[in-house]
C-alpha cells in the first residue's frame, strides 16, 4: 500500500507534463467567437465602391460564403490578400469584404492595385458592424451559411493551412469548389 503511494508524485508529474505539452500548441490569443450559431448582426451600411448602394444583413444570406474583415492599415490583410484572390478565382469561393475602420479612397485604391477578390465590400467606417461582430483584430474571416448564420471564425491570416480547415467546414455546410 505504502509503495503505491510513492508513485503519486510521479503520476502527478506525468499528468502535468501532458497538460503542458498540450498547452504549447494552444494559442491563447485565439478567442472563441461569441457569435457562432447566431444570425449575422443587423446592419445598414454603404458599399465601398458606391456610397449610395446600401447593404443589410439579408445580403449575407443565400450561399455558404466567407466574410473577410480587412483594412488598408492592417499589414496581415495585405499578406493574405493574394491568397484571397487565388481562392476567389481558382476555387470559386464567394467572399464578402467588410472594410473595417478605413478610408474609402484608400480602400478603393487598394482594390484596384491588388485586385478585388470580393463579391462586394461593406464600408464599415466607424467600426460599428465590427463591434457587433466582436472583431478584435483584422483580419478576421467568418464562415456564414445559406441562412446568414455565422458558423465559424478565424482570426489572423488566411493561408493554405487555414484554408484546408475552412474548406472542410464549408463543405460540411453544403459548399463545393468550382
Amino acid at each position: 500500500m505504502r509503495r503505491i503511494l510513492l508513485f503519486v508524485p510521479f503520476i502527478f508529474c506525468i499528468v502535468l507534463g501532458v497538460l503542458f505539452v498540450k498547452g504549447l500548441s494552444l494559442d491563447p490569443t485565439e478567442l472563441p467567437s461569441a457569435k457562432i450559431g447566431k444570425n449575422f448582426p443587423s446592419f445598414e451600411l454603404p458599399s465601398v465602391r458606391d456610397a449610395d448602394k446600401v447593404y443589410t444583413q439579408t445580403d449575407m444570406q443565400g450561399a455558404v460564403r466567407l466574410v473577410n474583415v480587412w483594412a488598408t492599415w492592417c499589414p496581415t490583410c495585405k499578406q493574405e490578400h493574394s491568397y484571397l484572390n487565388k481562392l476567389a478565382t481558382t476555387q470559386g469561393v464567394e467572399i464578402i469584404g467588410i472594410n473595417y475602420k478605413d478610408d474609402r479612397a484608400k480602400a478603393k485604391q487598394w482594390l484596384k492595385r491588388y485586385h478585388d477578390p470580393y463579391i462586394f465590400n461593406i464600408y464599415d467606417e466607424k467600426g460599428g458592424l465590427g463591434l457587433d461582430l466582436g472583431v478584435y483584430g483584422a483580419p478576421e474571416t467568418y464562415i456564414v451559411d445559406k441562412q446568414g448564420v455565422i458558423q465559424y471564425r478565424h482570426v489572423g491570416e488566411v493561408n493554405a493551412t487555414v484554408w484546408a480547415d475552412l474548406k472542410v467546414k464549408m463543405q460540411a455546410l453544403g459548399w463545393s469548389a468550382k
Binding site: P32, S33, A34, Y136, G137
Partner: protein, 160 residues
Amino acid sequence: MRLTGILIAWLLISFNAFAVIDTFEFDSQEQRARFAMLSEELRCPKCQNQNLAGSNSGIALDLRTELHRMVISGQSTEQIKAFMVERYGEFVLYKPSVNSLTYVLWYGPFVLLGLGFILVIVMIKQRGSNRAQQRTQTPAKNTVDREHQQRIKDLLDKNK
C-alpha cells in the same frame, strides 16, 4: 553624502501609471465612478492581460467610447456587461459569472483546500497511531537491546 544617496534613491523610484488618460465627460460622479469601475473590470480582447482602462490599443479605445456612450445613456451595469459578453464572450469579464462552465474556476480552489485539510488530518492521525504502536513495541525492543548490550559486554570482557 547620505542626503545625495537618499535623493538618488528617490529618483530611482517610479510610479507606474496604469490608466490611459481620456477626455470623457460625465453628467454625474456616479456615472464617472461606474465608467471607472467597468473599464477596470472589462478586459481588452486584443491585449489580453490588460483591462480597458489600461490599454492604448484601438479596440480598447473603441470599447471605452462605447462604454462611455452606454454609461451616459443610463444603461445598467448588467446591461453593459451583457452587451460586451454578447460580442466578445465571457472572456471580456475579468470577474467571470458563475455558471456550469466556471464552477471549476470558482469552487475548484475550495475543493483543493478541503482535500488538503483531509490529507493533513489523515497524516496526523497516522503519525499518532504510529507513535502509539512504537510505545507498545518499546519493551520488546528493550529486550533486544539488552541482549545486544550483553553480547557486547561479553565480547569486551573476553578481550580483556
